[in-house]
Symmetry: C2
Subunit: 408 residues, 2 copies
């Protein structure tokens, strides 16, 4: 018997050319054997969004967010219409719907809105009429009938939100890799594909820089109990299931390792040791919309503290200026920075019950002469800032140390 | 004192590059000195629509009209957002609205819908808030919330319809020529620019192939009493006013001459002379959505008629097949065709009151050994089908004969 409904999302590479779009159509049509109703969510073709951004930049370096959204949302309209045409060309009924036609309502914020609700009436009607429904990812409508985008990579989130709204238990996310790997296969050749991964592990990996899934989509899948199947649009092999961790391979303490080379480190030296100092520093950065990632405070001998933190490299100039002001204001000695760091992380739900994971991690780095500059941990993650030059070597040896290497 | 409102439409060439878009912004901003409220209607940038059509063709040669509309309407969304950004970049308030956001409602037909109404509430609100409003041409929304396009060149019509809905007395149409000419200046060097032309003359010229204005836009302007100002987006010179003919230069019998080289001629020979035959032929063609232009019926000696007509060259194959069927069905002898014809026309409201215009036209052709194959006339127009090879020479000599040559 057929299953009632599935949502399938195809990324930019998957719809990157007329040929690829035809392949998407074939795959969608084939899945009619398995599902009564199919909703397809698409990203913009290949580089379309980047091309539109480049056009905008030629007009204005600081375009209004509303017009920017109106502009860059058009890429998904194009790919959705083309996918619908390709399915029709192969003799099946299909219809493309923009975000607003599909009832996707967002917050009244541009460029990074959250989806607040989906009125699925139109989608349901089209499905009942026997159509495969293609919905543009990445976009919705605010309360004032303005077109809004939901942030880069937001099409993953669009797909999971639609799955939740349509009560689809599974959301297939088709991409240009065949699943989630223990680490980036382009960096570590021995990376191995995971059959399953828990929401929490996937969230950590996604937040740490593994780009296969957008973190918000994982969060949304977790909250709504949607299983995400990350798989290749170029082959039929099973991908990776992102799901609750009850049936996970908890035998191994570490599920994946990842590298983020986009952060920089700033230290405010010899800040007087008084209550409220940290609050003042990080409130100031937060007020400037600067996300701080790792934070460490070390106490010096002269009753002062050195406060060190990392921010995204795009925020470096602003964070540096603010830190200099803060240093003066707080009577601190000076600031220092290091723009050549990398954050190496290991992730695994198993590490909660397996002591010694951190020690093993630090030892592996130490015995290979890799200096640790900062440490930050969560229940299922340990991150270290290390020298950027050592990053790839460190990733490979940690990957190996925790038994993640592919033995095939 | 400022005038209350104007609608300005910019075509594809006028918004063809970031540089051109900035020039449009300058021009629009400058007109704030003259007008309280400005609504701008834009076409897609340069070749965008053609590129989208080419993409569609790579997917399907017979795409569904709904998806085709969803696809090709995106070009206007892009240019509208960019024009809004360019105006904002220069320090003025602006907002882009898609057809549906601007309240443009169309018939429930795809690719060639007529606009049935405009709910101007949103536009009025944005104007009241002090914004220059940029509206996408070429598109609207049907009763079922589907995006609909209104036919190639439809942005002219969008602009005039908006002018009518907003009670703007004038609609500026910016294009890549500086006005309406007595004939195509690329063909006849001595073509001269008209300061004014009546709606009816403009309608005939537009229908006959002068591509400067879309005929539907002229019709709509006539019905609503909107004056169209056709002018160049590359210079500040006054263009051509399209308006009621009360103040027209009716001294000259002919206002313009034009050539249409896209028609072909088909004859059904020796059709029995019975009532209802013509009706049967043209009903059959009409049922196949083939537009017939010129028709001539000549009576032969043997009590049969030869029926000759012209159709657009794109419809030739289908019209020929249908004619062959009809010939058999009606007991006609055979069919003939000529794909190397051109239709030469002269247009002028003055010809009603000036007898001898037709005679002068035919004589000019005759004494230059140009054979006339078909003739068709209206109150303000005379058209002849002639040999395509003679077409440009014939146009130039008729242009000269009726005193249209530019003496500058």
């Amino acid at each position: 018997m057929k299953q009632p409904i599935i949502v399938k999302k195809f990324g930019g590479t998957s719809v990157g050319s007329p040929e690829r779009i035809r392949a998407v159509a074939d795959r969608v049509i084939k899945s009619k054997e398995q599902y009564e109703n199919i909703v397809v969510v698409v990203s913009a073709m290949g580089d379309t969004t980047d091309d539109l951004i480049s056009l905008a930049k030629q007009i204005s370096l600081t375009p209004s967010a509303r017009e920017y959204d109106a502009l860059i949302s058009t890429g998904e309209n194009i790919s959705a219409a083309l996918v619908a045409m390709a399915i029709q060309e192969k003799g099946h009924d299909a219809i493309s719907l923009t975000g607003w036609q599909a009832g996707v309502k967002t917050e009244n914020i541009h460029s990074k809105a959250k989806i607040v609700s989906v009125d699925t009436q139109r989608i349901q009607n089209e499905l009942k009429a026997g159509k495969i429904v293609i919905v543009t990812g990445f976009q919705g409508l605010d309360d004032f009938n303005n077109i809004v985008t939901i942030g880069r990579g937001g099409s993953d989130t669009s797909a999971v939100v639609l799955a939740a709204a349509l009560k689809a238990p599974v959301c297939d996310i088709y991409t240009d890799v065949d699943g989630v790997y223990t680490t980036d296969p382009r960096v570590v050749k021995k990376a191995s594909k995971l059959n399953e991964i828990s929401y929490d592990e996937m969230l950590e990996l996604a937040s740490l820089g593994a780009k296969v899934l957008h973190p918000r989509s994982v969060e949304c899948a977790k909250v709504n109990g949607i299983m995400i199947h990350v798989r290749s649009s170029f082959s039929d092999v099973e991908g990776t299931l992102v799901k609750e961790d009850s049936k996970m391979e908890v035998n191994r303490p570490v599920t994946g390792a990842t590298l983020n080379e986009e952060e920089v480190m700033i230290s405010i030296l010899n800040v007087p040791d008084q209550p409220g100092i940290a609050s003042q520093i990080f409130s100031t950065l937060s007020a400037a919309s600067i996300n701080v990632d790792m934070i460490i405070q070390s106490t010096e001998q002269n009753k002062t503290n050195t406060i060190t933190f990392t921010v995204h490299q795009d925020d470096f100039a602003q964070a540096k200026t603010l830190s200099e002001h803060l240093a003066k204001q707080l009577g601190a000695k000076d600031i220092q920075w290091d723009t050549a760091i990398a954050k190496l992380s290991i992730v695994g739900v198993g590490m909660i019950s397996k002591p010694g994971v951190a020690a093993k991690f630090f030892t592996a780095l130490g015995k290979n002469n890799i200096n640790i500059k900062l440490i930050s941990t969560s229940e299922i993650k340990i991150s270290c800032a290390i020298d950027k030059q050592e990053a790839k070597r460190a990733l490979a040896l940690v990957h190996s140390e925790f038994g993640l290497d592919n033995n095939a």
